[in-house]
Amino acid sequence: MMDSRGDGDPQLDAFAVDVRDLLDRNVANLYSHLVTRPTGRAVRIAIEAQLGELDLPALSLVDLSSVSILDFSCADEVVAKLLLARRDRVRPHRDVFFVFTGVKLHHREPILEVLARHELTAVAGGEGMGGAFELLGAAAPRQVEVWTRVERLGRVPAPRVEEVFPELRERRTVEELVDRGLIFRHPLRGDLHALRTLLKETA
């Protein structure tokens, strides 16, 4: 939980989940590939157990850089189901913000497929993205445009929100993106934060 960092820091309890570490630890050091549904389920349950220990809101970094093979079943269990849990207003995941890093070119197809199937969107960074982050999955052009603006600015202080997003429809889109966990809004000050910048700030 923050606040030891000072008033300017976002209230996020950040933790990084290296999926391979999790896999090694929780699936008995057997596999270096994320294949099969039971394996994906085990990884997701391990991540969820860690999330359960956090104060909310929380930022969860899921690092795929050590995963050489990701099949569709595992992508569904790990990526899609973690994000789907955010839709559940009862479960604590509602206030977890997920960032997927280390996404390699060959991870993209399974991830894009499961996101499309569930109409989900993820913030992801990795190979072929030139060090930048992008929205993967189901997003309307207006959502991509607004998200990209926040991403480029890194942080939009609350008093500047109307200046950066002068049109009402843009501010409504901001609300959608916050609701979907693709932008973080400081619960006290109302500043908007790109998840990318939170990774650095909470590292």
């Binding site: 294949v35 549904r37 099949d71 269990e77």
Partner: protein, 298 residues
């Protein structure tokens, strides 16, 4: 004793001839499965042969006698493909003296039992080490194909675990079809003797088909429409993704279950897209053929 002759060629096109021989086998009847004249067998044929052996044991209550091929080449090849070990679990036979398997092998993936999750991991691991050279040098696929092939393999093996509720086998090998096609072809076969697609989907989907419900409609539901017995929206994409990738590689994918077979067939192959009223064979058998890329494919 009932003698069942294994055809001289036992491959992805001729397996049904062997399955037909199961008709009329009676309880407690001892059978001889004679592969004496076998001259050519591919992974689909091997898995069919094992399946027929296991089915004979189930129907008669006694293990069939298996007569190994007279051809040392064919027998040695079966040895290198790891056929005799699983065959020994379902049939009685005197193992050929030369089983092969010692030293380096050109086999892409030996016959491997798929019964648990870790079997899929082991298969993916093993094939990654060997598939690179075959996919890139022999089939001229791009380097990324190794991972895409491993994903296909994972999904196809999971089909056994998730839907069959019975163990199965997987095997793969590449061949030079110089006369038939003028190209190399990789053959991947997975088979089980579980409850099949009709059995797997029945409780959830048979109602909407009414009297039309059959092995063929069950295959269409899963293969074309991606239906599964699970309510979870994330399920059923394995076969769809396999179809998509196989199509990109201009390959064949076929699924046989019960009395029907459904397939995606490119121009170079003449299998029918849907076959019905085939001889009954339990479980599901998935065949994937991946042809060498032609220079004009880019």
């Amino acid at each position: 004793m009932k003698v069942i002759e294994v055809p001289e060629t036992l491959d992805y096109r001729s397996g049904d001839r062997l399955v037909e021989a199961l008709d009329g086998v009676e309880s407690e009847q001892r059978c001889l499965l004679s592969a004496r004249h076998l001259r050519w067998i591919d992974p689909v044929g091997m898995i069919t042969l094992l399946g027929v052996g296991r089915e004979l044991k189930r129907r008669t209550g006694v293990a069939a006698l298996f007569q190994a091929p007279e051809s040392g080449q064919v027998s040695g090849y079966l040895g290198r493909m790891g056929f005799y070990q699983p065959a020994g679990e379902v049939m009685d036979f005197e193992a050929p003296r030369r089983r092969g398997g010692a030293g380096d092998s050109d086999v892409l993936l030996e016959l491997t039992r798929i019964g648990e999750n870790h079997d899929v991991h082991a298969v993916v691991e093993r094939v990654q080490e060997r598939a690179g050279a075959i996919l890139s040098r022999t089939l001229r696929y791009p380097p990324s194909a190794v991972i895409q092939f491993a994903v296909i393999l994972s999904e196809v093996c999971q089909n056994v675990l998730e839907h069959a509720e019975a163990p199965g086998w997987v095997a793969a090998q590449s061949y030079n079809w110089s006369r038939r096609l003028g190209r190399h072809v990789l053959i991947l076969a997975v088979g089980d003797l579980g409850r099949g697609f009709r059995g797997s989907l029945a409780s959830r989907h048979s109602g909407r088909f009414g009297e039309r419900w059959s092995d063929a409609t069950a295959l269409e539901a899963a293969f074309i429409h991606g239906l599964t017995r699970f309510p979870d929206q994330g399920r059923g994409q394995g076969i769809q993704q396999m179809r998509k990738q196989v199509r990109r590689w201009d390959g064949v994918i076929s699924v046989r279950s019960g009395t029907a077979r459904i397939a995606d067939v490119p121009d170079w192959e003449d299998l029918p897209p849907l076959e019905q009223d085939l001889p009954m064979f339990p479980g599901a058998q998935i065949t994937i053929l991946l042809p060498e890329r032609l220079p004009e494919d880019g």
